[in-house]
């Protein structure tokens, strides 16, 4: 007797039952389960892929925009700086001009003052000379009143003063 006879005995009735049952199971599951499920999974996979692609594109765009923004900001900054520098230079120039002008004005004023002073000095000297001459005459008149007439006195004083002014 074969020990495992029962295990190996062919049962074609069971084979037919199994074949029919399994094919029926496959048909039902295939139509109502695997079909919708795999379709849904593919849709989801596609959805996820699309979202990722879109995200990547959006990221690229955002990066590009950011780069643009950065560039624009840099340019603006550079512009502002150049403007600022120009303004500063202008101000500097203006200030220098102003200083120069003031200095010139002061110099002119100093010059004028000097001339004025010179003239005043000359006129003062003239006046002094006249006064001294007059005083000298008066003094000499008093001293020499008796010895010299007026013309002689004047000549003597003039000679004296002539030698004096030339020094």
């Amino acid at each position: 007797m074969i020990v495992a006879q029962n295990l190996l005995a062919p049962n074609w009735g069971l084979f037919v039952w199994m074949l029919v049952s399994f094919l029926a199971l496959m048909a039902v599951l295939g139509k109502y389960a695997w079909g919708p499920i795999t379709k849904a999974l593919e849709e989801r996979e596609k959805g996820i892929q699309d979202s990722m692609d879109q995200a990547r594109v959006a990221l690229e765009e955002a990066k590009a925009i950011q780069a643009d923004n950065t560039k624009a900001r840099r340019e603006a900054e550079a512009g502002a700086q150049a403007f600022l520098r120009a303004a500063r230079e202008d101000a500097e120039k203006l200030r220098n001009n102003e200083v120069e002008k003031t200095r010139e004005q002061i110099q002119t004023m100093q010059e004028q003052a000097r001339i004025e002073i010179e003239r005043e000095k000359d006129s003062a000297l003239d006046a002094l000379r006249h006064q001294v001459a007059d005083m000298a005459i008066v003094a000499a008149e008093k001293i020499l009143h008796e010895t010299l007439d007026a013309d002689r006195q004047k000549k003597v004083v003039k000679d004296f003063l002539g030698g004096f002014s030339q020094n």
Binding site: N6, P10, W17, W34
Partner: protein
């Protein structure tokens, strides 16, 4: 409480659960326990034959592990109940007409007359294990509902109950427009995606999606059957050779349908081989077409049967030792038997999953090899060879 203590407690509980009823049964039964001993079984059968009909399978004295694992025409819930299954016969009657006989049970078939129970040597007696023969005419085919068929149907109902609601969820938009929600949904989706993305697509390539429904159904059927077989009072439909043969035959049919001109050319006139070698190689190739599905069927059947046989044999050791050396030794063997069968049981869980994977993977590879086009022949061939090596190492 530490994990270690919990483990020990569970182990002791298991020992008691198995040992106490088994001892009770053993002490009630007067006949000695023997494992599939043909000679004694024959004597048993003789005894039973004397009061045939009244005898019941539950009263069997023998623990026959092979018998327990074979298909039967009743569901064995002993010691609680035995459920007889309908008998359906396609018969050629005495007047040469063909008809169908339907009975709700084996007893009904015999009691209604017209069918005789022919008990064979090696049967454990009782009408339930007997071969039924019509009083007149002959049976063309026995379409009786068997234990394994019932469990195959249970598995199919489980699959329908799990995946039709799942599909409904996807139709509602959960998992299609949103992320999958919940353990149930995620777990089942992971299975589907695993089979499609990790088994079918890499093995078959461009035309893979056409074969997803078959391979997915086969994978889930085998996996569920294998795991269901580990429950008490249940049986694995995949531990029946006819069930695995049905699946293997479907794989064979799919492989044949997938075969390209290239595939057939490689079988009937392999290119790049010396003409003198061809007469040797061609028959080998032709044989190979049939050995592949044959191996598929045998592999799954043998793996699923072997584990159950080993577990039952290990439990049976308790009774064998009791008979040989007395009850003290018998009790002493209990912890060892339980420990070993627990180990095998855990191994069985692993095997249940691996074998479902192996069957599906190999079927997909065979289909893929047949469907490969010449352009990427070398590439897919290499892939197939590599995968084949992996799978064979795993099984």
């Amino acid at each position: 409480m530490t994990l270690r203590k919990v483990e020990i407690l569970v182990f002791l509980a298991l020992t008691l659960v198995i040992a106490v009823p088994a001892r009770a049964v053993a002490s009630v039964l007067e006949a000695p326990f023997q494992e599939a001993d043909g000679h004694d079984a024959a004597q048993e059968a003789d005894e039973h034959r004397q009061n045939a009909g009244a005898e019941h399978a539950a009263e069997e004295a023998e623990l026959d592990v092979v018998h327990h694992n074979s298909d039967s025409i009743y569901l064995d819930f002993s010691p609680f109940a035995i459920v007889e299954l309908p008998r359906i016969f396609l018969v050629r009657r005495a007047d040469d007409s063909i008809g169908v006989d339907f009975f709700w049970s084996t007893h009904a078939a015999v009691e209604a007359g017209g069918y005789l129970a022919l008990e064979q040597e090696g049967d454990h007696g009782g009408i339930l294990d007997a071969q039924l023969e019509p009083a007149s005419g002959e049976i063309i085919m026995d379409f009786s509902i068997t234990k394994h068929l019932v469990f195959a149907w249970i598995v199919m109902l489980m699959l329908l109950a799990a995946f039709l609601p799942l599909a409904a969820r996807y139709k509602k938009g959960i998992g299609r427009e949103t992320a999958p929600k919940g353990k149930f949904h995620n777990m089942l989706e992971a299975l589907i995606v695993f089979v499609r993305n990790d088994i079918v697509r890499p093995s078959i390539g461009a035309k893979a999606d056409k074969y997803v429904p078959y391979l997915l159904t086969a994978f889930l059927f085998i996996l569920t059957s294998n795991l269901l077989g580990l429950f008490p009072f249940a049986a694995a439909a995949t531990s029946n050779l006819m069930v695995t043969a049905t699946l293997a035959m479907l794989s064979f049919v799919y492989t044949m349908m997938a075969g390209t001109k290239d595939y057939w050319k490689h079988i009937f006139w392999p290119p790049g081989i010396p003409i003198l070698v061809k007469p040797i190689l061609i028959p080998v190739e032709i044989l190979g077409i049939f050995t592949k599905p044959f191996a598929l069927a045998i592999r799954l059947f043998a793996n699923m049967t072997a584990g159950h046989l080993v577990i039952l044999s290990l439990i049976g050791l308790i009774f064998s030792f009791t008979n040989l050396f007395g009850p003290v030794v018998g009790w002493g063997v209990v912890p060892i038997s339980v420990a070993f069968s627990l180990f095998i049981f855990l191994l069985e869980i692993l095997v249940a999953i691996i074998q479902a994977y192996v069957f599906t993977m190999l079927s997909a590879l065979f289909i893929g090899m047949a469907a490969a086009e010449h352009d990427h022949h070398e590439e897919s061939h290499d892939h197939a060879q590599a995968s084949l090596a992996t799978v064979e190492a795993a099984s």
